[in-house]
Amino acid sequence: MAWRFDREAGQGLKLISPTFGYVLVMLAAPLLMVITFSFWTQDYLTIDTTLTLDNYREAWTQPLYQVLMWRSLKISLIVTVVTVLLAFPIAYYLSFHVKKRKALWLFLITVPFWTSYLLRVFLWKVILGYNGVFNTTLMGLGFIEEPLTFILYNLNAVVITLAHAWAPFAILPIFVALEKIDRSLLEAATDLGDSPMRRFFRITLPLAMPGIVASTLIVLIPTVGDFITPRLVGGTDGLMISNMIQIQFGKANNAPLGAALAVSAMVVIGLISAGIFFAGKKLGGRVR
């Protein structure tokens, strides 16, 4: 079809052009660079620009990278499930049971954003540490004899910290989806004989599915790539693929391998996201 460059289209383009330019420079260009890098080779201080798949071969066959990739996926999937499961009741309560002051509640949910992400991760260190708030409280109350060590510098700590950090992002899309449900649909289901529980699974949940899928993706995608949290609270057991990518670009001085790892991670998470998206779409229409 012919491109109709009329006045209105021109105005529209003008309106989005700053954003478009920004995205082009800050996102598309670096991404293209990373992809290009992944087909090159590091030759000590210089870069060999002959195209090769060697980096990908190494990224996909080396056990270390496989372990890290699996662990990253595992951690982010656990974080996602925990976060969405915890976010749903909050969003549900907010949408169905808070009659007045909904805005205040939404405002309170964003309160964690008032401190920087880094600071919040450090705070979790203080809470979960060997002599941290959690352990000293439990010992003081006599529940435990010695400090629990399985809560810091391992996978659990990463899950706890990330789930907390991403909770607001998970709550809001689910809340919006629940708000959009016409309440007369729920009355109709009751009218047709459904108990509240049955109604929830046949009407509320399927209709909230777009919000649940959105929350899942919003939490899943960035947590796979997170490297601050595993670095600070993960110990050696909690290291993730992004930490390795960071090392390759930095200390190891092998940017092409780092790039290949980054692109691989991106492709894997892209495929998983697409899978979740379509499964959610199908589920939203099928659950009854």
Binding site: D182, S184, L185, E187, A188, A189, T190, D191, L192, G193, D194, S195, R198, R202, I203, P206, L207, G284, G285, V287, R288
Partner: protein, 367 residues
């Protein structure tokens, strides 16, 4: 079996309060089995609230509702023998027409084969065969309305509750649906309760109508009873058009009253024409419907009362003409409707006319 004296729905002194606002002030009514019953009133009169208390969506503050002789106080909405057709239709958007209609049967754990049969049957009843696989967004307003009705009918409830089901349809479709709904109700014999603010709709469809104002039933009667014998001015002006004239009793005998009416003059009425609550002393107003007044084209055969006036406005509707006629000694003109039968021409504004009326057309109101 229920005997004839047990009403399908017995509503006794039902009060409903929302905080400090009282939506229903002690409603008492009986709704008979197989009846097409309407709750009619302006918005905010409590008619929808009453319907929702019957459905079980709103608990009553006090009073009882019994359906088929069984008190509904402790029975939640999902266990009541009622099904509702919602104003918004509330078609489940993630399910197709068949799944929507079969929704309640599935809750009852009916076998799939039976559900399919029942659904097909009821879809043909509402003229929606072949639409089973469509989703809500692929249906027109009228079709959604039919699906919502089918979804309630398939449950074979004792009572079907309809919350302004036709208000979202355009006029032509609404007129058609009124007739269809009425004949459907007659053929299946289920008790229907309709909530509407449209008096014409209520008159056309109902066996009986409860007219509600401010949380109370003002009059419960047949359509004809409501139209011909409204109990007060509020009901009279809500149902159709009514000319109100101030009036006073000037003489009384044991059997008759003589009324002196504004502009129309004196008239003798038998006492039994007064409503139950009306004493001769309380009479302050009389009413007369526009079609009960006649513009006399030929006065030779008119033996009843007549009065001279002047046409101030004429509205021509093809089959009908609506006149506004000013009478001497009265500011507000009278509304008169005339059927345009053969030989009747339209009288232009400014023309002098003679208006004829009969004593039987006068409705008396207390003040």
């Amino acid at each position: 079996m229920q005997d004839d004296k047990t009403p399908m729905i017995a509503i006794r002194d039902v009060v409903k309060k929302f905080g400090s606002f009282t939506a229903l002030h002690g409603i008492t009514a009986d709704i008979r089995e197989g009846e097409f019953f309407s709750l009619l009133g302006p918005s905010g009169c409590g008619k929808t609230t009453l319907l929702r208390t019957i459905a079980g969506f709103e608990p009553t503050t006090s009073g009882t509702i019994a359906i088929d002789g069984k008190n509904m106080a402790d029975i939640p909405a999902n266990d009541r023998p009622t099904n509702m057709v919602f104003q918004s239709y509330a078609i489940f958007p993630h399910l197709n027409v068949e799944e929507n209609v079969g929704y309640g049967l599935k809750t009852r754990k009916m076998p799939k084969k039976d559900i399919a049969r029942e659904v097909a049957e009821v879809l043909s009843l509402v003229d929606m065969e072949g639409y089973g696989k469509r989703k809500a967004h692929e249906l027109s307003g009228g079709q959604r309305q039919r699906v919502a009705l089918a979804r309630a009918l398939v449950m074979k409830p004792k009572v079907i509750l309809l919350d302004e089901p036709l208000s979202a349809l355009d006029k032509k479709l609404r007129d058609q649906m009124q007739v269809e709904l009425r004949s459907l109700q007659r053929s299946i014999g289920i008790t229907f309760i309709l909530v509407t603010h449209d008096q014409e709709e209520a008159l056309i469809m109902s066996d009986r109508i409860a007219v509600m104002f401010e949380g109370q039933i003002e009059q419960l009667d047949t359509p004809e009873g409501l139209y011909r014998r409204p109990v007060n001015k509020r009901v009279a002006s809500f149902i159709g058009v009514m000319n109100f004239l101030s009036a006073k009793v000037t003489e009384q005998t044991d059997t008759h009253l003589t009324l002196d009416m504004d502009a129309l003059g004196k008239i003798d009425l038998p006492r039994d024409r007064l409503g139950e609550d009306i004493t001769p002393e309380s009479i302050g107003t009389v009413g007369v419907r526009p079609e009960m007044l006649t513009v006399l084209f030929d006065q030779s055969d008119w033996s009843q009362n007549k009065v001279e006036g002047e046409v101030v406005d004429t509205e021509y509707y093809g089959d009908m003409t609506y006149y506004k006629v000013r009478l001497p000694g009265r500011d507000a003109p009278l509304s008169i409707s005339m059927r345009n039968t053969a030989g009747r021409s339209v009288v232009p504004p400014g023309s002098p006319v003679t208006v004829g009326w009969g004593a039987e057309s006068i409705v008396v109101f207390g003040d």
